[in-house]
Each structure stands twice: as C-alpha cells, then as structure tokens.
C-alpha cells in the first residue's frame, strides 16, 4: 500500500515542481538498467528510481529537505564516506540526517541496509538487514583532521578511526579499526619539500571476496619543462604476490609533450612512448609500445567543446588482482549536450580486463514554478565572420540582456553597453529576430525597429520600448 501511495505521490507532484530532472541509462559495469525522476522544489527534492539490476526489478524513492538547519533524507540513499585511506558505502532505506559546518561534519542514519544501486541514472536500495550508522569529522586549525565512522549492517560491524595531519610540506594519514568485521589498517605519507619535488608512500587494504593488500612508494620531480617520476608497487591477493616498478620522464616544448615510461612486473618489461599535442579544442596522441621485443603503435586523442566532448585514451594501470601487474587499458568516452539534455557514453575496463560500458542521459524540464525560464534554443556560435550590433531604448540608452536569434540557430545576448556580436561561417546576410520572451533583462519590452537581416561586417541597431506593467 505504501509503495502504491508513494508512486501516486511521485507522479502527482511533478505537475507542481519547480524543475524536473529525468534520467535514464544502462551499464554493464554497474549491472543495471533504469531511470530516475527528480522533482526540485525550493526547499526539498523528491526522487524516484526504478529499473532492473542483475535481472531483478528494483526501485527506490527519497525526499530530501531542510529541517531546523539539518539536511534530512527520508527514503533511499547511500551512506558512504572515505577518509585517510578507509572507505565504506552502504545502501540504506530509512531516515538520514546530516549537517556540515565549517569545522564539523556529521551524519547519522537509522533504518535498513541491503544491496543497492547508485548510478548517475538510478538510485535504489533493498531492505535486507536492520542498520544504523554514524559519521563524524572534525577539522582543527592546526591541520589535524579527526574522523570516526561506525556502521551496523545486519551482522557486519564497522568501527573505524582516522587521523590525518596536513602542513605546508607534509601530509600524514592513517586509519584503523574494524571494517565489516575485519581488522583493518591503512597509512599514507606525502612529503613535498619543494613545489617541484614530492615523495609518497601508501599502504591499503581492500575487502573484495578475498583480502587484497597494496603498497606503493613513489617520487616526482619537475625541472622546468622536464618532469621525472618513479614508483614501486606491490600487491597480494589470494596468496598471489605481484610486484611492479615504473619510471618515466616527460619533456614539454610549447604545445607538444613527449613522454617515455618504463613498466616492469612479473618479469615482463613494457616501454611506452607517447607524443601528445594540445590544441585549443583538440588533443592528439601517438603511442609506441614495446613489449617482449615486439613493437606496436596506437593513436589516441580527444575533442573538448561546449556541445560535444569525445576522447580515446590508452593508459597503463597496475592490477594486483590475478597477479596481472601492469596492463594497458583503452577508454572511450563521448559526452553530448543538446539543449538541456546531456548524453554520456563511456567504456571501462574492470580489474579482470573485461570491457564494460555505461551510457546514460539526463534532461532538465522547467516546471510551472520555475518562473520565466528560457526555452531550449541553441546558442552556439562559431565561424570567422562577425555580425555585431547594439540595442537601445527610446532615449538611446543601452539595453542589457536582450536575446537575439540569428538564422542558423545562434542566439546571443546584449551586454551592459547594449552591444552584442555573433560569429557566422559564411560571408552573407542572415535573418535576425529579437526574442522578446527570452530576455534576460527585467521588465516587459516591445520592439520599435529591427532589421530583418544582418550582414557580416556591418553594425545592426535594434530599438526597443519598455512597456509599463499592466
């Protein structure tokens, strides 16, 4: 009954919401397919998710709001914190309360815990055990940071203490205790005596199906355009020990970077040489790999723009699981933004070297309470020809925030001097329209005069009249 009522509530409130966010996606990496609807109100956020995870129908809902200075969530959310090398995330269904001040953060939850799915497009939880949790973090002015985490997740208990210290050149961090019924310790030390010289040592325990331990020791030095780095790595998983060493140097001249790296693990030596050039929007890489006497070539690169970004990257990662040592991975990522819709696609490589993908989209829809929000018009301009102009009122005073659409979907706004410009690809006149409903300027305005088109290289003058409120 409660589920039905929640569904009715969640379907009903969007009609009065300020802004709605609709998301949907699928991921083999996260093992789920589904969607989420989030309704944003001025002082609260209501969310509902549903989908399939590992072949099972899953759902989730939450309401987040302020209450006497506290951030309260009723419903499903992730109780996850990491500090000083320790970390724990638990899917919860219940009541969650948190408060953050300048020096102190605290959070507490009571309810149930279980398997949950937290993805960019769906957040669900399954009530399996009674659970409760507490997190407290306190910053001190002398650089000390004290953290405490306590969680009861059915029969699994966590009680971890962390302490870290940060000064100008030194960062020390350590944590220990009980993490899901297992004894646990981790430590990290970073020393940076100079801006261009640093050393780091870490020890970590991960709790997968079996106990996994990793240690690392690394150093970095920068000498003008040259950087040097070296590291030693060691990992153990299911009694299999893996060691690795890496060293590298890079040289940057202008927009070109040349980098050579050496990787050694399990008596295998891998040499990777990369030449990379950065442009305003583009990055292009050429890669030469040398492994066991064999040479291979690869290319990578990416484009970064306001509407679209895409990249193809190859990198070398250390995989202690399965004694794999250093492995090369390929990542492809594409992000698109069309009006208020964001589309994302990404491939990932998991520690078992399987290629996984994640794809999702989200859109913002302005509700009736959002006020005079602008329509979803394209506003991108590019090209070598420029159309410029000015917007004035009846007295010849500049008008700021006037939206002007040029044929080809480019929309521009006038600045505080009333001036605007747009770049177009072709040297020919384009149609010009003043969008009275799209103004970023306050008040109501009427058009007195505006040319029907504008040619590159000429100045356009637009005249407006301010209308009195009815």
């Amino acid at each position: 009954m409660l589920r039905v009522c929640l569904c009715v509530l969640l379907l009903g409130v969007p009609a009065s919401a300020q802004v709605l966010q609709l998301s949907g996606g699928s991921s083999t990496l996260l093992g789920g397919t589904g969607g989420e609807i989030t309704a944003f109100f001025p002082e609260s956020t209501l969310s509902a998710s549903a989908g399939f995870a590992n072949g099972h129908f899953v759902f989730g809902a939450s309401d987040t709001f302020k209450f006497h200075g506290l951030d309260v969530t009723a419903g499903d959310r992730n109780f996850g914190y990491s500090f000083d090398g320790a970390g724990l995330g638990v899917s919860t269904r219940g009541l969650f309360v948190q408060r953050n001040t300048r020096h102190t953060s605290f959070a507490v939850f009571v309810g149930s815990t279980g398997i949950g799915y937290a993805t960019p497009f769906m957040v669900t939880a399954k009530a399996q055990h009674i659970g409760a949790g507490f997190f407290l973090q306190r910053h001190f002015d002398n650089g000390l940071l004290l953290s405490s985490l306590a969680v009861i997740d059915g029969g699994k208990h966590t009680a971890v203490q962390g302490l870290s210290y940060r000064s100008h050149s030194l960062h020390l961090a350590g944590s220990g205790g009980l993490l899901q019924n297992q004894k646990y310790f981790t430590g990290e030390a970073d020393y940076q005596p100079l801006r261009s010289l640093s050393f780091s040592a870490t020890h970590n325990d991960y709790f997968l199906a079996e106990h996994l331990t990793t240690n690392s020791l690394s150093g970095f030095a920068g000498l003008g355009h040259i950087t040097l780095q070296a590291s030693l790595l060691d990992g153990q998983y299911m009694l299999l020990k893996t060691t690795g060493a890496s060293a590298g140097a890079s040289l940057r001249v202008g927009s070109i970077t040349v980098r050579s790296s050496f990787y050694e693990s399990n008596h295998r030596v891998l040499l990777v040489h990369v030449v990379q050039q950065h442009f305003r929007h583009w990055t292009v890489s050429g890669i030469v790999n040398q492994l066991q006497g064999q040479t291979s070539y690869a290319f990578g690169g990416g484009y970064q723009g306001n509407r679209i970004s895409a990249s193809l990257d190859r990198s070398v990662l250390f995989f202690p699981v399965g004694a794999k040592g250093f492995q090369q991975t390929t990542t492809v990522q594409v992000s698109l933004r069309i009006h208020d819709t964001a589309l994302n696609f990404q491939t990932n490589v998991d520690p078992m070297m399987h290629v996984q993908y994640t794809t999702y989209a989200s859109i913002y829809v302005q509700g009736p309470l959002a006020g005079a929000a602008m329509n979803s018009l394209s506003h991108s301009t590019s090209g070598k020809f420029m159309i410029a102009g000015a917007v004035v009122d009846e007295q010849g005073q500049p008008v700021e925030g006037v939206a002007i659409q040029l044929h080809g979907a480019a929309v521009v706004y006038s600045d505080s001097q009333g001036k605007f410009f747009a770049r177009v690809k072709h040297d020919k006149p384009v149609a010009l329209v003043v969008l009275l409903q799209e103004f970023a300027a306050p008040g109501r305005w009427a058009l007195i005069s505006c040319p029907s088109d504008a040619a590159p290289g000429t100045e356009v003058l637009i005249k407006l009249r301010r209308e009195l409120a009815p």
Partner: protein
Amino acid sequence: MKRVLSLLLLQFSFFGLVVSAQTVSPIIVECGKNCRGEFSITNNGLTPLAVTVEARSFSLDTLGHATNRPLDPGVDLKLEEGSARISPKGTHTFGYQLKCSVPPCSVALLSSMAVGHTAEGILVRVQLAHTVYVCEKQKDCRKKVRAAAGVTVD
C-alpha cells in the same frame, strides 16, 4: 498512509528562493605577450542561465584594489563568443586571444548573469571575473604587475 500524507505536507510546507552559486574557472591566468586562453562558467542552478562577457582593462592601487576602465588602445582582444546560454548544471567555455602591444597589461573578462530575485522582486545580477595578466614573459607576471603598482599586501 499517514506517513505518505506527512511527506506530502512536508513537501509543500517549504517554499522559498532557490539560490545556487555560479562559478568561474580559472580566476587568474598569466600570459606571455601573445595570449591564447579560455575560461569556463558553470551554472550550478536548475534553470538555464544567460551569460554575457565584457572586457575591461584595470589598474591596481597600493592596497591591491582594482579600478576598471574600457579596454586600453594597445589591447587587442578577440573573444570567440560574447554571450552564451548555459543549461542547468552545465559548463560553458569561452575562448579568447589577447595581444598587448605595450606589456604589461591587466584585463578582466567579466561574466554577467542574472541569478534570481530577492523576496522584494529585485533582480539579482552577479559578475564573475576571469583576470588575465599579460607580460613579456609569463613567469611571475602577476607578481610583477602588482609590484609595479606598489601593492604592499598579498
């Protein structure tokens, strides 16, 4: 059912002004004589945001306070875009080329945007500055400009 009704009442009992911070990055850059750069404005709000960009030359007093003025004649600025509409939770990058015939030059690229209304209905606008220091050589350019202005405070 009572719990659902409580949620519903709680939902509609909190109404007010949503205020979200907008951000600019980077805040300061140092350049050599011919400068090609970019800065990004992030709309952390839930509604689209119209942003206009204007350039000003500025000088500093001994306390480090800036005084803006129209672009100096020796400054040649080519902005890729003078305005943009940034979608909710989106980021827009503005590219530019800046040449300074008589270095050093100090230029502020001011991004103006309307971010909401007060309870009295007054429009709230903010201006975020991306500051560019141009010298013969990039290294320590800001430091040199501040030293030349006699700025004594950090």
